[in-house]
Amino acid sequence: MSATVESTIAAPRTGRIDPKYTRDKTKSGNFEMLAWLFMRLSGVALVVLIFVHLFSNLMVGDGINGLDFGFVAGKWADPFWQFWDLALLWLSMLHGTNGVRTIINDYAERDGVRFWLKMVLYAATTVIIVLGTLVIFTFEPCLVGADGMLLESTPAFCETL
């Protein structure tokens, strides 16, 4: 018998698995786990933050009729509400961004589309978080007109300053 006879026949499917089913071996660390945990914890926190926010803005005092520039200015003069709104901004933006990131991962089929959709998402999130944070901390309630007088819409406490 010849020693060169092929002793095995390749299995019919050998090497035929579509590459779209092959996971890349790079470790993703704990990011997905932390993201999953963050969604649950921030979700619970947001329920409290949002309903207190709605209650204090719409129900207390004059309710929705008292809601104007002066009302917001008054709230942001208080470090408690500054912190509250900051937490609301950051948690809701990160919670929402992570949710949309998940949806993009689920539904964008092409790698390039998925990458660019996420880049647009992250850019928008960054702009909104930075802008929102700046507004909360650098907000100037007592606006002065060109003539040096307070504008009409400024809250009452500006008069005493």
């Binding site: 499917r13 698995i17 704990n30 997905e32």
Partner: protein, 263 residues
Amino acid sequence: MSTTATEPAEGPSKVDLGAQGGGTGEIPSFDVTLKVRRYLPETSEDAYWDEWTVTMYGTDRVLDALHKVKWDIDGTLSFRRSCAHGVCGSDAMRINGRNRLACKTLLKDLDLSKPILVEPIKGLPVEKDLIVDMDPFFQSYREIMPFLINKGPEPTKERLQSAEERERFDDTTKCILCAACTSSCPVFWTDGQYFGPAAIVNAHRFIFDSRDDAGDMRLEILNDKEGVWRCRTTFNCSEACPRGIQVTKAIAEVKQAVLAGSF
């Protein structure tokens, strides 16, 4: 035999089977229209629908109707089946849009006023008619190491386990690897790299087995970006499982085990 059961295990029959007493009467028959998704790569690149009307009996299943077509009408119709009794897991297919085993779906339980739609399971490459390439499915299954790993000395008798310890993972031992769950998962449809419910169920079977020592390794494998965190809890898998495994619950338990191991 006890005759105290008042409710049938499955829903009421949609076909009037008449009075059935003593088993001496003739089994009622009815016409069934099958509409099967065909794909014959030798003749055409495109899939199409084929329709047949066959006379079947009240005791028949979708598999019997497929057999009737294959054996009596069109021999080119291709599908997998081995045991034909719901144990081997070969004949999972999409029946009226739901993943079912053809051998466990009675025709009388379906709406026979319309054609019965039969398609291959989704998310895996179709090879011919109702046959899909199961290799990506089994590749994920192999990766979670579906075998007992015990680092202790080999016992002279069996490895003992209490009834409670056995009960912990009893549900996930029922898996027959039919792929009905994985191919019903919308995440798997768009992301073939997702491990899928079946692989996680079979990891669960060993992670919670008191005799197994490699639970941590399996949890690390499933703590991947394509692992348990990809699950969106849509419950399609639990609905599809022909063995009634609480698949989504098993995935949630693995998620909690990963969390518990990390903090």
